[in-house]
């Protein structure tokens, strides 16, 4: 028997049709199962060595994928704390998708606790999803169905729009933007009590935070034919100094200079919390802007 390659060990998600499907266009997955312990050594134990005993078991699944067609769906799932029934299993080499019900396969309920969407110029956009398990794992034994071939999203076609303040409809892109990242994090807290049977950790969501990061050239010299206006370092400096929230949208774009807003993926208000100007010798001057979410974001417009 040869080695098992990473593309044939995959995370699957239960869908409404009572089968499991692989997370489409995945590039990697990491499953972490932890026996949380405390030292049970006492004065009766001779020597210096500790004696850990299990307090509870917890598990997390991290998946990276190039599919961002479901970006709004993922943003909704983390905000609403939608439970996912996940499994991991060996998949067939004929299509890399059919679950083989391997002996190490497991399944359980998890919630998205961390989500990052990256839309970087000329790169394939990607999402990184962390699921935190809540409750026990059972042996896999899942039936699977295949997913259709995916579509790729080049990062220059998804852009951040900002308003001038917290009432203005976001209409200005970030001029000469290079990168864009939306990161959402749900703080989870241990909710196991004496009433909880078994060793498995139960996790409850407590707080939702998000931030938006972007990097842009200070000046690009590109010819702009689009009528859509843009924020530059000067206007970002103004936003920083104003110190008040501003409306934002992340939207699909097309048209001249990739600035015409198509459909909006997510929107909300955010505070510009950090502006970093980078000026290394003989290199193009850039700046990084980080906005911290103010209140909940919305999906769609």
């Amino acid at each position: 028997m040869g080695t098992l390659k990473g593309q044939n060990l995959r995370v699957l998600v239960h869908d409404g049709d009572n089968v499991f499907k692989v997370i489409a266009m995945a590039t990697s997955c990491t499953i972490t199962e932890t026996n949380n312990t405390e030292d049970a050594s006492t004065k009766d134990d001779v020597g210096l060595a500790s004696k850990p005993t299990t307090t509870n078991k917890s598990w997390q699944v991290q998946v990276e994928s190039l599919n961002v067609l479901d970006a709004a769906d993922m943003l909704t799932a983390i905000k609403n704390q939608t439970p996912f029934l996940l499994a991991w299993d060996q998949t067939s080499t004929s299509n890399n998708q059919t679950a083989q019900q391997a002996s190490f396969s497991r399944r359980g309920t998890a919630y998205i606790s961390d989500l990052t969407l990256n839309f970087n110029d000329r790169e394939n956009s990607a999402k990184s999803v962390q699921f935190t398990g809540s409750g026990s794992l059972a042996v896999g034994m899942v039936q699977s169905a295949t997913v259709a071939a995916g579509s790729y999203t080049k990062g220059q076609f998804v852009r951040l729009f900002l308003g001038d303040d917290n009432t203005d409809t976001p209409s200005k892109v970030i001029a000469a933007a290079k990168t864009l990242s939306l990161h959402v994090s749900m703080t989870m807290e241990e909710a196991t009590t004496k009433d909880t049977e078994g060793d498995w950790s139960i996790q409850e969501p407590t707080a939702l935070n998000y931030d938006i990061s972007t990097n842009a050239l200070v000046s690009s010299g590109e010819v702009i034919t689009s009528e859509v206006q843009a924020n530059d370092l000067k206007s970002m400096q103004d936003l920083y100094e104003a110190g008040t929230p501003v409306k934002w949208q992340i939207a699909n774009v097309s048209g001249d200079n990739n600035r015409t807003k198509g459909s909006v993926i997510a929107s909300g208000s955010a505070l510009l919390t950090q502006l970093t100007i980078n000026a290394a010798n003989r290199q193009t001057a850039t700046y990084d802007a980080q906005l911290t979410g103010y209140g909940a974001y919305n999906v769609g417009s």
Partner: protein, 82 residues
């Protein structure tokens, strides 16, 4: 000649309306649909038509994707879950 051209355009418009209705029905039934088109602009135009036809139903979209195989653009639309 002009009459034939008008008839063809009318037929194309009817087919387009019928296809749009089918997509809107799928969206309302399943809560999700995927639009496809040959260009981004066409895709957004289709989305705006769907949005107009389902009126007060709040919709959300993901990022536009492009097929590696044939260059078709896709957009996943979901009904917003409150």
């Amino acid at each position: 000649m002009s009459k034939t051209k008008d008839a063809v355009v009318e037929q194309q418009n009817e087919q387009k309306a019928a296809a749009g209705k089918t997509i809107a029905d799928e969206l309302l039934t399943k809560g999700q649909t995927i639009l496809t088109a040959k260009t981004r602009e066409e895709l957004f135009a289709k989305f705006n038509e769907i949005k107009a036809s389902v009126k007060d139903v709040p919709l959300m979209t993901g990022a536009v994707g492009r097929s590696r195989d044939d260059g078709t653009y896709s957009l996943q639309i979901n009904i917003v879950k409150q």
